[in-house]
Structure formats: C-alpha cells, structure tokens
C-alpha cells in the first residue's frame, strides 16, 4: 500500500506539472462552448435547453485529447518495465492512472462549469445539479478512457482506433447525464431525475470496478 501511495503522489505531481496541458484543456472546453454559443446567436431561448448536451459533449471532446498518452509515456520511458519487475500490479497502476486522470482533467472542467453555465444562460437552479451529474458521471469517462488508452499502448501510429472503440461506451453516460438534466429543466425535481442519476452512478461504479481490471489485462498482454 505504501508503494501505491508513492506512485499515486508521483502521478499527481507529474500530471499537475504539465500546467500547459490542463490550462489548454480548460481553454479548449471554454472555446467550444463559446463558439457554439455564438453560433446560436439570436436563438437565446434554445441555448439554456441544449446547454447540458453542449457541456457534456464538450467535456467528452476535450477528454479525448488527453486519453492518448495516459500509458504511452510510461511504456516508452521504461516505467512499466520497472513496475513489472518490482511486482507492482498493473491493476493498481491502472487504478492510480484513472484517478489521477480524473483529478487532472475532469475536476478542473467541473470547477469552471458554473462560469460556463452563465455563458450559456443556464438557469442558476440547474447549475448545482449539473455539477453533481458531472461529478457522478465523469469518473466513468476517465476509467473507460484509461482502458482505451491501454489498447493503443504499443501502437506508435493509432489514429482513430481508440475513439472508435470507446465512443460507444460513452453513450450511456451521455444519455443518462443529459437525460437527468433535461428532466430537471423541463419537469423540475422529480423521481425520474434521481433514477437517471442513480443509473449514472451505477455506470460509474461499474467502470471503476471493471475498467482497471481490463486495462491491467491489456497492458499485460502487451508483454506476453
């Protein structure tokens, strides 16, 4: 456990020392929203209604940029070799990678979402539930993304392989994440909202349980 804590702290140090990475991610996230808002100029009544979809889709697009090199650095700089020799389980490592990816990539976007919400005229009552759905749903994106990243571990040229494989896995998260907020916007707080939230939490829980196992298996397969 001591060693996994050390690795986790090193990962956090590593991801947060790439300041440009998450600053550009936040800028890209804001830019997508800003551009679409400008595109929908003159249709201000539509914007608050489509805002949840806009925010979720933008977050997924931004995250795709960060998925590619989650494990590749460690594969090419020999870190994975060292951990394998030192008997660090790939399961533990994938878990650490997924959590640190969420902290470095999803959390900053969730934090600036209230500002983004103002930009897209999102009702102030919807902003907090929006953040809650993001907090519940985005871990699934990170965990599934890490699994996808392990698939392209040893491929120097991978193009669109990973997005094509993992995009379908993002659909349920998108459906329930947007669905919960649509219920809230159009019908107010009702049971269906909480049901959709529970389903979203279920998907995140399943991703947290199974994706690191799959990642570990895929990474190991690269060695065998």
């Amino acid at each position: 456990m001591r060693i996994y804590r050390l690795i986790f702290l090193r990962e956090l140090r590593k991801v947060f020392s790439y300041k440009a990475n998450y600053i550009f991610s936040l800028m890209f996230y804001s830019s997508i929203i800003f551009l679409i808002s400008i595109g929908l100029q003159g249709q201000n009544s539509i914007l608050p209604n489509v805002a949840p979809s806009l925010i979720w889709v933008s977050i997924i697009l931004v995250l795709f940029l960060s998925f590619e090199d989650i494990f590749q650095d460690d594969y090419y700089d020999g870190t994975l070799d060292i951990y394998r020799i030192e008997n660090i389980t790939f399961y533990g490592f994938a878990l650490i990678k997924s959590i640190s990816h969420w902290l470095a990539n999803c959390l900053p976007m969730i934090i600036i979402t209230p500002i983004i919400g103002i930009l897209v005229n999102l009702d102030s009552e919807v902003i907090l539930p929006m953040m809650i759905t993001l907090i519940i749903g985005t871990p699934a994106l990170s965990f599934i993304g890490c699994m996808g990243s392990s698939l392209i571990l040893s491929l120097k040229i991978h193009g669109l392989i990973m997005p094509i494989i993992i995009l379908p896995l993002f659909l349920p998260i998108l459906v329930f994440g947007i669905g919960a907020l649509d219920v809230l916007i159009f019908n107010g707080f009702e049971e269906l909202f909480f049901r959709q939230l529970a389903l979203l939490a279920g998907i995140s829980g399943l991703s947290m349980a199974f994706c690191p196992i799959a990642s570990a298996y895929i990474i190991k397969a690269n060695y065998d």
Partner: protein
C-alpha cells in the same frame, strides 16, 4: 543465491534471436554478454528479468532480487532530479547517498527538470536508482553508454564492490571495461 539459465531459446516472428543459452552464476560472479547489434543481448536480459517471454528453456532466479538497468530508466521529463531521487529512495526505503551525486556530478542539477539533462546525466540518474535499490542481482544493459571517464571508473568500482558483497552481475557491453568476468557469452557466435 544462484542464477541458473537452462537451454533458453527465443524467437521473434519466427526469426531466431538466440537459442540454447545455458549458464549458471553464483554469488560474487560476473557474466559479460557481448555480440553485434541485434544479436539478442537486450532480449536475453529482458527474458531473465521476466519482461520478455521465451520459446523454451528454464530460468531459476530470485525475482525479488533483480534490478534491470535498461535503455529506458523510467525518468519523467517534467519532474526534477530531486523529485526522481526522492521517489526512488522512498520506493526502495533507502536514502540516496549525496556523495554518489557529487561523484557523478549530479549535485548541481538537483533542481533541474529531467528534460534538461543530457543523455549522460540521465544515465547517471538511472545509476543512482541502481545504487539505492539494494538488489543483489544486477542486470546492466550498456551501463557505460554516454558516461564520461570519471563516471565509468566510478561505476566499475561499484560493480567490483557489488561483486565482493556477494552480488550477481550480468552486464551487456560493447566496451572492454570489464576485464575479468567470471563468464563470457558472445551472442554473435550463435
């Protein structure tokens, strides 16, 4: 402690890398592996360390005691030398020696990010991890690469000390710096 390799053969995509390699090393012994580029020296080291699979043969080794110094030493470009040293000394629960840093002229680079280090300095940083590890079996793949003369001599002294402290060393090197290995294998002869 003994390291025993019996009839080890390795093929990659149907091409023979090496075949029927056998040797045994006892504590305090050094094996030098040589051979031309592509003759399978690194693959042999990776097979012994358990990183690469092989077609046939057996390896008897205490895996907990292995340290592999390969071409890539797990150095993170955007962490500083100090952060790297701190991580590995906590990892191996063994304080790194400031005298070694001084000897390898790394002490002045302690606050530099690893991306700004030269290849030689990166190799020295990898060596500090080796000295910090307290492992008994050293698998060294071209450890003298990029090193200046002073650092090469320092490494030679460390290898000799490790040998005298009952360590086992397998060294892949094109240079003839290891003068009296207990065993030599030339994979180019295969």
């Amino acid at each position: 402690m003994t390291l025993l390799v019996k009839n080890l053969s390795c093929y990659l995509s149907g091409r023979k890398i090496f075949s029927d390699i056998s040797f045994s090393l006892k504590t305090g012994e050094v094996l030098k592996i040589s051979g031309e580029n592509g003759s399978g020296k690194t693959t042999l080291l990776r097979a012994i360390s358990g990183l690469s699979s092989f077609e046939s043969g057996e390896i008897f080794i205490n895996k907990k005691e292995i340290f592999l110094l390969g071409h890539n030493a797990g150095i993170k470009q955007n962490l500083t030398v100090e952060e790297d040293l701190e991580f590995w000394s906590n990892f191996y629960q063994n304080e790194h020696d400031d005298k070694i840093l001084k000897k390898l002229s790394l002490n002045s680079k302690i606050h530099s990010q690893c991306r700004y280090l030269s290849q030689g300095q990166k190799q020295k940083l990898a060596l500090t991890r080796l000295f910090c590890s307290n492992k008994k079996i050293w698998l060294l793949d071209e450890p003298f690469s990029f090193l200046d003369e002073v650092s090469s001599l320092f490494l030679l002294t460390k290898i000799e000390n490790h040998r005298q402290n009952n360590g086992i060393i397998i060294i892949v090197s094109h240079q003839n710096l290891i003068k009296n290995p207990d065993l030599s294998i030339n994979l180019g002869d295969q």
